[in-house]
């Protein structure tokens, strides 16, 4: 089943994109810049309000036409085809970037303000404060929300089969149709997804334990 590998790649690449957008979005939402705030607010509203499949279709069909008519208008590039993989990974990444934005924003807010002020008082610059004070704690606060998002994200990759990407769903469907055993093949696909989510669940739990080591102990004490 080469489709499983496509699904895993799709999920991981879209995860990278969504993390980038999530950090960027959280930073924009918490910045003092009015324009950045409004842009980020608009982004999360649209991306969380419109179903992902609608956006995937829009990007795959509409994005291609827009991109090519821009190319023709400016004369900068010739006909380009956006692949199903790029459209799928890009759209899912951007959509879940919206969810990640909210998760990260909540996690950053949860860090006591005094700690950041203490960092300033110690003479750290903004980058050092982010790396030394915000990041290690943000990861811990964000993990539960992140885990949820990631599990939903893996399942969303199934939708890319609708635009014809040969992922595990598409391959399973085609194989099932030609052998007239759709139930058997779709059930196999179901089990593959179940394995993927189960494995991620284990990894996330391990991460959770790792990042909240000192905290759990102090709770018991």
């Amino acid at each position: 089943m080469s489709g499983t590998w496509v699904t895993i790649q799709l999920a991981l690449i879209s995860l990278a994109i969504s993390l980038m957008f999530g950090l960027l979005g959280a930073w924009a939402k918490l910045s003092k810049n009015y324009l950045a705030q409004k842009t980020a607010a608009g982004y999360t509203t649209i991306v969380r309000g419109v179903p992902d499949l609608v956006l995937i279709l829009l990007v795959f069909y509409g994005g291609q036409e827009l991109f090519n008519s821009l190319g023709t208008a400016t004369g900068l590039w010739d006909y380009v085809e956006i692949s199903q993989f790029a459209a799928g990974a890009g759209t899912i990444g951007i959509v879940f970037g919206g969810y990640m934005t909210e998760t990260f924003r909540g996690a950053i807010i949860a860090i006591p303000r005094g700690q950041i002020e203490a960092g300033v008082a110690c003479g750290m610059n903004r980058f050092t404060i982010f790396r030394r004070v915000i990041w290690p704690q943000m990861v811990r606060y964000a993990l539960p929300g992140f885990s949820n998002n990631w599990l939903v994200q893996i399942k969303s990759t199934a939708l890319v089969s609708v635009i014809g990407l040969q992922d595990v769903v598409y391959n399973g469907f085609v194989a099932g149709k030609s052998t007239r055993q759709l139930f058997t093949f779709m059930f196999a696909v179901l089990i593959i997804y179940l394995l993927l989510t189960a494995v991620s669940d284990l990894v996330l739990r391990w991460l959770d334990r790792k990042y909240s080591k000192g905290i759990v102990r102090s709770d018991n004490g």
């Binding site: 279709l57 829009l58 769903v169 149709k177 759709l182 139930f183 696909v189 179901l190 989510t197």
Partner: protein, 259 residues
């Protein structure tokens, strides 16, 4: 006047607004199908989830395990695959096609979508409700026991009303999730909101119009739903808010000193 507006739009609008307006009744029908599927499966799934959540929050292993397996299976796999499995998969078995429910129900896309959606939302709602049932404060349950309420009376009068309320914010997410999930219906030939958008694009060979219209309408529905839930929460969770948020009067003096 009207004609000149149309002519203006036809020349200058980047997307074909006139065509959208001409087919707007179809989009409204599509929205109706989407809402119908979502609401019915939420009701069915919600009703299913109440007994399942009570089982899941108890500690009878023989009842607990199958319910856990059900929620794990449905929460761990994509709705698209579940829907395909029911709509395309069940036809593989000759004996299912022989049964009386095949012709009127299991061979119909609408019913299959409804079954898949209901089971899916039932699984999510079960876990959600379980979470709020087991976090009911112990004191309330003990007080009910002290008053001599039996097990079912306790659930009916004390635990469930309070658990429902506390599950409300998470449930609003589930409702929106289900609304988003209902687009899967368009992949098994149902003319829901997205189905109409795909139809329009296919028929007139367009790239944006159908999807953009569908996207805007989904956005409107989602915003209305989340606003509705916020009002609902304000009403049903009033007792859980801090007092000054209810009175909405900023307190002067020491109280307004922020640490």
């Amino acid at each position: 006047m009207g004609e000149s507006v149309i002519a203006f739009l036809e020349t200058w609008s980047p997307i074909d607004i006139v065509l959208i307006a001409q087919n707007f009744d179809r989009f409204l029908w599509g929205a109706l199908v989407t809402l119908q599927l979502t609401v019915i499966s939420l009701v069915v799934g919600g009703l299913l989830s109440i007994p399942l959540a009570i089982i899941r929050s108890g500690n009878n292993p023989f009842l607990n395990a199958p319910v856990w397996a059900f929620t794990y299976l449905f929460r761990g796999t994509p709705l698209l695959v579940q829907t395909y499995l029911i709509y395309y998969g069940l036809g593989q078995f000759e004996w299912i096609r022989q049964t009386v429910v095949w012709e009127p129900i299991l061979s119909q896309a609408w019913w299959c979508a409804l079954i898949a959606f209901s089971l899916n939302t039932a699984a999510y709602t079960t876990e959600l409700l379980r979470g709020s049932i087991i976090t009911t404060s112990k004191g309330e349950v003990e007080a009910a026991k002290a008053c001599g309420l039996g097990k079912w009376m306790r659930f009916r009068r004390i635990v469930l009303p309070s658990a429902f309320r506390r599950a409300l914010p998470a449930y609003s997410n589930e409702v929106i999730f289900m609304l988003h999930g209902s687009v899967v219906a368009s992949t098994i030939t149902i003319q829901d909101l997205l189905g109409v958008g795909r139809w329009l694009n296919g028929r007139y060979y367009l790239a944006y119009e159908g999807f953009i219209t569908a996207a805007v309408m989904y956005l409107i529905i989602v915003l209305l739903v989340s606003r509705g839930f916020r009002l609902w929460e304000k009403h049903w969770l009033k007792h859980l808010y801090p007092l000054d948020a209810v009175e909405a009067k900023p307190k002067k003096g020491l109280a307004s000193f922020r640490v």
